[in-house]
């Protein structure tokens, strides 16, 4: 296991040499303990390098948004944090990712434990074809937890996910009968029920209407007190509304005409949206805001 000490304020994003005026404004949120840290992270699919040289720090109990054009590797990076890339044949990670200082990709790491601590909510709601109750109870059950009352676990998770009032009378009914927005909140509740430390969300509102979206956003703000949240989104307003910090990714074309994703800059959301240090960030954001 590599004992990497998160020496906080030193690292600078591979791209942004220039640092904006604020003293906290490099990508390593100096004021906060870093929960997940990446150093020189590259991800390959076979021989294709999808993402290169990413250095990031995710502060404790912060919401970090990852934005950038399609195909620049946001999901790829996100899937490294809970080792879901392991499921993709040919995917390979170089560089280091640490979780509370421990190398996530060390040989003796238990991927099960990683995934329990670093939960994930997917783009498309993916409730299990079981009852609402069993969806929530699934995590604690497979992790072999002895709980005094599973009913309480279920109620608490659903309450935290702001879904309890809507489903409390139909806990035994199929989760597939819920609306898309309810299903997504169910997936968040399911994730919370295993008491993770970090929640990864890959475009969690992509298939939802504005009302459901705003419910999920409220929920994220609500959860931010207790969880470190990393969210990938194409919705600039959403990033601006919910996140504390924002990372902007883009894709460069190399000499051989191959596109590689990389981090341009990472900073406080306010700085990224009002005074980014890289012109590409500004171009992307202003293009999106219209």
């Amino acid at each position: 296991m590599t004992e990497s000490t998160p020496d906080l304020p030193v690292s600078v994003s591979a791209a942004s040499g220039a640092i904006a005026d604020s003293d906290e404004s490099n990508n390593t949120d100096g004021a906060n303990e870093s929960v997940i840290t990446t150093r020189d992270l590259s991800v390959f699919y076979g021989s294709y390098q999808a993402v290169r040289n990413v250095d990031m720090d995710f502060g404790k109990n912060r919401i970090t948004a990852m934005i950038g054009p399609s195909g620049c590797g946001k999901s790829t990076v996100l899937r490294c944090f809970n080792r879901m890339n392991d499921l993709i044949a040919g995917a390979r990670v170089e560089g280091t990712i640490t979780y509370h200082g421990q190398d996530v990709y060390a040989d003796d790491v238990d991927t099960i434990e990683v995934r329990r601590r670093v939960g994930m909510v997917f783009q498309k709601p993916n409730p299990f074809p079981k009852s609402i109750y069993d969806n929530i109870a699934y995590g604690p059950r497979v992790n072999g937890w002895k709980v005094d009352s599973m009913d309480d676990v279920v109620e608490e998770a659903l309450t935290r996910a702001a879904l309890w009032d809507e489903v409390k009378d139909k806990l035994k009914e199929s989760a597939l009968a819920l609306s898309g927005g309810q299903q997504q909140r169910l997936c968040i509740a399911r994730c919370i029920a295993v008491q993770p430390d970090v929640i990864l969300m890959d475009e969690p509102c992509a298939s939802l209407d504005p009302i459901a979206t705003s419910k999920i956003e409220d929920l994220m703000r609500e959860l931010a007190g207790d969880y470190t949240i990393i969210i990938v989104t194409h919705n600039m307003q959403q990033a601006a509304r919910v996140s504390d910090r924002t990372a902007f990714f883009t894709a460069d074309v190399d000499d051989h005409g191959v596109r590689h994703g990389r981090l341009v800059e990472m900073d406080k959301t306010k700085t990224i949206f009002t005074n980014p240090s890289d012109p590409r960030t500004e171009g992307y954001i202003s293009g999106r805001f219209g």
Binding site: R116, G119, M120, P127, F128, Y138, S174, V194
Partner: protein, 301 residues
């Protein structure tokens, strides 16, 4: 259908009602008729066959069939009790050997095996080929290796292992299809919660695949229940007692039917038809069990 002219504006005077149906094009109708025709051929054949068998066997479709033992001397008192019992024993053990093996093999190939490895590809191609091997070849295999090689003789054990090998590819192929139809997002969701791969397979993939697996299992057993050739090859013939264990000699309905149809006396033809009806009823019963399982497991979704 392509729009060749702009649609008339609703306010403009129309020479025909705007939304009036123009009738199905001939091609659509012709295709529908073709479908009906094909279905009709299939259904009609089945109905004719069933009616023929029932009419032919009608005079012998009574309790004698179940209470009496087969006989090649007295067609009036001959029954098929030992054959019915033999078929039940045979099917039970065929299922016991082939279903767990086939389902586990399918799980291995779909969920664990790396499809790019040469040995997994070899297994896969072999299974597909095995499904196309004529049943008599399995009979020869059973005779040479199980009956004589292992010295088990023409017993329930030999028969059920032979039939299990025969239908194993069907079980594997159907189970793989069912497992593959389970969306990847379910596996990802389960693993992301900290479930192990086996937990994911056992608690998510298999329950979701059960309807498809049950259908495959019944297809396989339906194939096995009607097989006479491999059993004849094994030397299964007339016995006048019910099996009492795996090492017991036996006879089975298809074998019995076959040997009756080769008898010269017409009474035996009637008997064969009646026994065929019994075989069909057992087949239908098996199918209903599968449909029941399918409906019951699907309702949980």
């Amino acid at each position: 259908m392509t729009i060749t002219e702009p649609l008339p504006s609703p306010s403009a005077p129309l020479d025909r009602p705007l939304l009036k149906a123009t009738g199905e094009p001939l091609r659509e109708r012709a295709f529908k008729w073709l479908l009906w025709f094909c279905m009709g051929v299939g259904l009609l054949t089945l109905v004719v066959l069933l009616t023929y068998v029932v009419i032919k066997g009608w005079s012998r479709l009574d309790s004698r069939l179940i209470t009496n033992m087969p006989s090649s001397v007295l067609p009036e008192t001959a029954g098929a009790q030992s054959a019915i019992a033999g078929t039940l024993w045979l099917m039970t053990f065929t299922a016991i050997w082939s279903l767990p093996t086939g389902i586990l093999a399918a799980i291995y190939l779909e969920e664990y095996g790396d499809a790019n490895r040469w040995y997994n590809r070899a297994i896969e191609i072999n299974i597909l080929n095995l499904a196309a091997v004529p049943s008599i070849v399995f009979g020869i295999l059973g005779l040479a290796f199980i009956s004589r090689g292992l010295g088990f003789g023409p017993t329930i054990l030999t028969g059920s292992i032979t039939l299990a090998l025969l239908v194993l590819p069907i079980v594997v192929i159907a189970s793989r299809e069912a497992i593959r139809a389970v969306p990847q997002s379910i596996r990802a969701g389960s693993l992301a919660l900290g479930a192990t791969q086996w937990q994911t397979v056992y608690r998510q993939v298999l329950p979701a695949a059960i309807p498809g697996i049950a259908t495959g299992a019944i297809l396989a057993l339906s194939r096995a229940i009607g097989e006479a050739a491999p059993l004849l090859m094994l030397g299964v013939s007339f016995v006048q007692f019910n099996p009492d264990g795996l090492m017991s000699n036996f006879t089975a309905l298809p074998v019995q039917i076959y040997s009756w149809t080769t008898e010269a006396r017409p009474e035996y033809g009637t008997l064969a038809a009646a026994a065929s009806v019994v075989l069909l009823i057992m087949l239908l019963a098996m199918n209903s069990v599968a449909i029941y399982i399918r409906n019951k497991t699907q309702r949980r979704w």
